[in-house]
């Protein structure tokens, strides 16, 4: 899929962004809903 160095670094950026999305979902939705921990206070 990504043989060239430039494409690989672009994939790295996408993987990093994906991890950030996962982090936001965890902190913003999973922790409040599953464990009653709401660091962002959105649920309050």
């Amino acid at each position: 899929m990504s043989e060239h160095p430039e494409q690989r670094s672009r994939l790295g950026v996408k993987l990093f962004s994906s991890s950030l999305v996962a982090g936001v979902v965890l902190v913003g939705a999973v922790l409040p809903a599953e464990y009653g921990i709401d660091p962002t206070g959105i649920g309050a």
Binding site: M1, S2, L11, K14, L15, S18, S19, V21, A22, G23, V25, L26, V30, L31, E34, Y35
Partner: protein
């Protein structure tokens, strides 16, 4: 496992072929962690032989630990197992994205099959299983899991085949695997938090 299923299983004794077949299939078809992993495993497979090989290795792995886990009474922490199952989804996505390749994919699918099997066994151990007819019931549950897996694979394979006809399939495939990676991280984080909280 849903409350009504759990109440039913706790109340019955003896060999119960149909209920356990049903529960095994239901667990597989509604267990999105297993589904996400399977989708990753067959993502780039087009030949029936390859799919059969990978799925059989996965089935062999989870059958071993499901039967061993329940029959030995070994209690593995459910959150810990589910967290590793989340990581298995990430691993497969990274393998599909050609980011990692230090293990033979067949060895990886067998190894993660072992982990998924502990996931299945802990779910069953959460309820009071009657020791009467335990072995037969476990085998029926296991067969149900495989039936559910075949049903899920038919749907997944049809969807993935349609995806291959899309223009810019390369981009679509990359984004789909990035999505799998994200989903795997969310599953991992959810259960890791559950493990730390317990």
């Amino acid at each position: 496992m849903a409350g009504s299923d759990q109440a039913f299983l706790s109340a019955v004794t003896g060999v119960q072929p149909f209920p356990y077949l049903y529960l095994g299939a239901k667990h597989m078809v509604t267990g999105y962690d297993h589904l996400a992993y399977l989708a990753g495993v067959i993502f780039f497979l087009t030949r029936f032989r390859d799919i059969a090989t990978f799925v059989s290795l996965f089935a062999l792995g989870h059958s071993i630990t499901l039967l061993f886990g329940v029959l030995s009474g070994l209690h593995v922490n459910a959150s810990l197992v589910d967290a590793i199952i989340g990581l298995s989804v990430c691993y497969k996505a990274l393998e599909n994205l050609k980011v990692i390749s230090f293990l033979d994919p067949r060895a990886a699918v067998f190894g993660f099959g072992l982990v998924h099997g502990f996931g299945l066994s802990t779910k069953l151990q959460d309820i009071a299983l009657s020791p009467d007819g335990l072995l037969a019931n476990m085998i029926f549950f296991n067969i149900g899991v495989e039936i559910g897996q075949v049903l899920a694979l038919v749907v997944l394979f049809a969807a993935l085949s349609r995806m291959r006809h899309l223009r810019r399939y390369g981009t679509v495939a990359e984004n789909a695997n990035l999505l799998l990676f994200t989903a795997g991280l969310v599953l991992f984080g959810t259960h890791a938090a559950g493990f730390l909280m317990a």
